[in-house]
């Protein structure tokens, strides 16, 4: 039983170790999914727009961690 719990915890940990980071990614995917049919001419760039949002989330999360680490 403990083995199964450990494996399940490890599997969850594969996808989430910083809850805010994982949540921001999911929210951005939801936003892109909701807005993409209404982008008009910009829809030709919908893929790169998805990437840009993810890039900003990554930079924000990494720099936030570095700030938090220093303040500890």
């Amino acid at each position: 039983m403990n083995s199964i719990k450990t494996i399940l915890r490890e599997i969850f940990g594969l996808f989430v170790d910083d809850g805010a980071f994982a949540l921001a990614i999911l929210v951005w995917l939801f936003v892109v999914r909701t807005l993409s049919p209404h982008l008009g001419h910009a829809s030709a760039w919908s893929g790169p727009i998805l990437f840009l949002g993810l890039a900003l989330i990554l930079i924000e999360s990494a720099t936030r961690y570095s700030r938090r680490r220093t303040l500890k």
Partner: protein, 252 residues
């Protein structure tokens, strides 16, 4: 749109490198278990875990063929994105010196110490060695299975190249383990993790885009553009994190 070389080449490379990292980590623990408590139970533990993983792959492979491709791309892409970006974020923080580098030699001594603490060896069957080898192979193997499926399931014809990449990595690590009998500490694991984070994030972004029916300006070749973009982004973020950690005054 058929499966292009851009996808086949990157699928093999991503799957090989990601699996190599996982296999190296598993090998370190199996070597520690085998060298302290004997090879028989350790190797049977690892082999049993590989058999279980093969059964999971067979079951999942059949089930995945019944799921519509856009749903599969969106689901697998989202999971791969969470997995890949988490991996890339950690690699950036590691490269910036904010979290410790992974050290196989240190992991080996930690695991050998832990194995010695379990006391005397049983005469024939060693449950502790079996369980330790089974668990680590199962844990790292689950990651490999997920990576192969996530990279390969997004488009028809990429599951085989992704599987071949993983099998090649397993064979390389087993061969090196048999020859060297010590952890592969010289494998540039932290650099590999950085590259793998870039590749998995690029694949995840592309699959999610396909699943959401988004437009990629260069079609299939966009995967290469995404790899370049994530690499550049990661390389720029490392010094940014390093500078932030140096400029923010610490609380006395």
């Amino acid at each position: 749109m058929g499966t292009g070389w851009a996808h086949i080449g990157t699928s093999i490379t991503a799957s090989f490198l990601a699996s190599l990292v996982e296999c190296v980590e598993a090998l370190t623990v199996v070597l520690a278990v085998g060298s302290v408590r004997g090879w028989r139970s350790a190797l049977i533990g690892s082999a049993s875990a590989i058999a279980v993983l093969l059964l999971i792959i067979a079951a999942l492979g059949t089930a995945l063929t019944h799921i519509p491709l856009p749903v599969l791309q969106l689901t697998v892409g989202t999971l791969l994105l969470l997995f890949g970006l988490r991996w890339l974020r950690k690699a950036i923080l590691r490269a910036a010196g904010l979290i410790p580098l992974h050290d196989e030699a240190a992991a080996f001594s930690k695991n050998t110490k832990a194995m010695r603490q379990h006391g005397n060896l049983p005469a024939a069957w060693d449950k502790i060695a079996f369980a330790a080898a089974f668990n680590i192979t199962m844990l790292e193997g689950t990651e490999v299975v997920f990576i192969v499926i996530a990279i390969g399931a997004g488009r028809a014809g990429t599951l085989l190249p992704a599987s071949l990449g993983a099998v090649a990595a397993l064979l390389v690590v087993i061969t090196l383990g048999l020859i060297l009998h010590r952890p592969l500490a010289r494998v540039p694991e932290n650099t590999l993790k950085f590259i793998v984070g870039v590749l998995l994030s690029a694949f995840g972004t592309f699959w999610v885009g396909e699943g959401l029916d988004l437009h990629w300006p260069a079609a299939d070749w966009s995967i290469l553009a995404l790899i370049a973009a994530y690499l550049l982004l990661a390389l720029v973020t490392v010094p940014l994190c390093r500078n932030r950690s140096q400029t923010v005054p610490s609380i006395p």
